[in-house]
Symmetry: C2
Subunit: 267 residues, 2 copies
């Protein structure tokens, strides 16, 4: 059995957050961007020196589950496995794989085009280059950031780091458009490098739009022509409002990118 | 039943490290420093807005387990509980309590007096004031720091933060002695405020020794007259060697403090 039916109370995922996860959209019986998810998982495993499961067996298993599900969300967790007391990773740890199914309707292109309200979080992300970019299980900062608001009309929270650099949103990456160029924050100090972020970067390049990573701050958001968020489930979401700061019309370049992205995702 | 027999695969302790833990020494059928452990747990729960379990019921349950164990280690984990997908903490979450028993012999005063070899870790702790001091479940930095060495003769690894400040060791707090005064690093940016650290601070005050928190760096360690570590299981451990840096004789003030501490712990 590839996926655990229950978790040992000694699992290091619980004790230390010693593991990784992927949240994947299932559309038309297939995992969207599966190769990118598997690639990020392999990269994260290498960074944490967690033994990688057989990726082709995992791919097959995920595809089978997706097919039986039709539409929804799959969350895969991989931990270093069970261990004794103490931080030292056991030499012979067998990784634990957990798969959770959340049947639900995913946003359509129409939903995605409506645009969202964003707020600025008070919590600032810590800078830890050793963990930056990977989707590990140490997510207390994001829990605390998400706990800052309850208003259902606010879809996301913007996150700066402790030095005031723009990083991402709580469960999304952020992009800004300035004079026809697209920028997204560097994620070498903190933040999660989303698979949809990578797909959007590739999509913009295919369109011949100038696009790249940059060191950005809140002022860059406030002076941007367009702002949008990306994540695996919501694809691209234009930002209409940064609560108590600024409003934008849904931008032409954002819409163009959104159409191109959906075209590529539906192939 | 106060303690969970198994963990739901949806538990937020696993998904986000959304919880706290305590590692407690059991000696002569009693939990050592139990009031300090419960106090830290209450403080951590308040910081993370995790519903606190009934502390007097928890105290009674821990004492009963300790009595049946005699000697060993108890690890208590408390998570925010189970939840749906997404970082937002559920309003009605019921905390999960997990208790793990590790029967083993604890170090004696003789063991503790022998002194240890310490190394300097390459990993630098991130500065995150919102999480600093509390014993939460986001411990990947410590896993990676502990994975830096395999030599059994090296007992602990010294940790600086990303700005080069001295913070602690992987599973201990650190103290230095200079000209008869004792200093331990401030833990307002990162690190875990150990219960034995608090006990040693109180013990030094009772002895009339000048003692306090300070912003320290590696040079302060290298120029210290004496260096020692504290943790719940090992009490005070004199540092004899900082690997590739310096050696010390076991110091008079460290030994004096060690005797006074053991006297207080055995009451």
């Amino acid at each position: 059995m590839l996926f655990a039916e229950q978790l040992a109370l000694t699992d290091r995922g619980l004790h230390y957050g010693d593991g990784l996860f992927e949240t994947m959209a299932v559309v038309d019986g297939r995992v969207r961007l599966l190769p990118r998810h598997l690639h990020r998982l392999a990269h994260g495993s290498a960074r944490l020196a967690i033994a990688l499961p057989d990726l082709s067996a995992l791919e097959t298993a995920l595809q089978e589950v997706a097919q039986s599900m039709g539409e929804g969300v799959l969350k895969l967790i991989i931990t270093r496995g069970s261990g004794g007391r103490g931080y030292a990773p056991p030499q012979d740890a067998e990784p634990t794989l957990i798969l959770l199914r959340y049947p639900q309707n995913l946003p359509t292109l129409d939903d995605a085009q409506a645009g969202i309200v964003l707020r600025l979080c008070t919590l600032r992300l810590a800078r830890q280059p050793v963990l930056a970019g990977i989707k590990h299980l140490n997510r207390l900062e994001y829990v605390l950031a998400r706990a800052e608001w309850h208003e259902p009309e606010i879809a996301e929270g913007l996150l700066l780091d402790t030095q005031g650099e723009l990083i991402e949103a709580v469960a999304s990456n952020v992009f800004i458009v300035k004079s026809g160029c697209i920028f997204t924050p560097c994620l070498d100090q903190c933040g999660v490098a989303g698979v949809m972020r990578a797909e959007v970067l590739a999509c913009a390049e295919r369109l011949g739009v100038a696009v790249g990573e940059a060191r950005l701050c809140l002022d860059d958001v406030l002076s941007a022509d367009e702002v949008f968020l990306t994540n695996s489930l919501h694809t691209i979401r234009p930002v209409r409002v940064l609560h108590e700061h600024r409003e934008w019309a849904v931008g032409a370049l954002t819409l163009r990118l959104q159409h191109a992205l959906w075209g590529a995702l539906c192939v």
